[in-house]
């Protein structure tokens, strides 16, 4: 799980520039993995605007994000630069309402149409 400086900087820039980032397999429209699809569904259901980063298109990020987050699986959700967790954690936090609370606490704007 190698993480070179250039990749570390790119990841830091992504999670700093974008309030909500999902590192995933595939894209929000075409997820390529059930766990990524479930994560997209939860975020979309809550009306969260997020940036999806397709790790399948970028081997450096695919391996790098695992070291960056100290988390060996994908998807991974970042809110305001902070690692939240993977699909299991998202599902649990969605079910208990903690995810909505965290989004509000972080001041993430939700899409009223959702």
């Amino acid at each position: 799980m190698a993480l070179d400086d250039a990749t570390r900087q790119r990841i830091t820039k992504e999670v700093t520039d974008n309030p909500v980032v999902l590192f995933m397999k595939g894209t929000p429209v075409f997820p390529m993995c059930g766990f990524s699809a479930a994560s997209v569904q939860i975020l979309s259901h809550l009306g969260v605007r997020f940036k999806g980063i397709n790790v399948l298109e970028d081997p450096a990020v695919r391996e790098g994000i695992k070291a960056y987050s100290d988390w060996p699986t994908i998807p991974q959700l970042y809110l305001k630069g902070e690692f939240v967790g993977g699909c299991d954690i998202l599902k649990e936090m969605f079910t208990t309402g903690e995810l909505s609370a965290l989004l509000a606490e972080k001041g993430i704007e939700l899409d009223p149409a959702a």
């Binding site: 993995c33 059930g34 100290d70 988390w71 060996p72 939240v84 967790g85």
Partner: protein
């Protein structure tokens, strides 16, 4: 059963679980990327351990991931984790 047994052994050693279910979901993913012809690629682990007390979700999963580091780098393609303390599971 090789991978499932390894998961069971390593989690038992690392977490002294009060209860542990290792479920092989590989058949649900047959043919898709990451599924291995011999199976044993996709697992769900339900573990109850006192070692999770006082830890948030991320820290709990990291304990599980840490114990299964070798398997995650080789055999396991996907791992769903449910990590509870004995009090939460009761």
């Amino acid at each position: 059963m090789r991978v499932a047994n390894a998961i069971r052994e390593k989690l038992t050693a690392a977490l002294a679980p009060a209860s542990l279910d290792v479920i092989d979901d590989s058949h649900k993913h047959a043919g898709h990327a990451g599924a291995r012809p011999q199976g044993e690629s996709h697992f769900t682990v339900r573990v109850v351990s006192a070692k999770f007390e006082g830890l948030n979700r991320v820290a709990r999963q990291r304990l599980v991931y840490g114990a299964l580091k070798d398997e995650l780098e080789t055999d396991i393609h996907a791992l769903a984790i449910e990590a509870k303390t004995p009090a939460e599971a009761a």
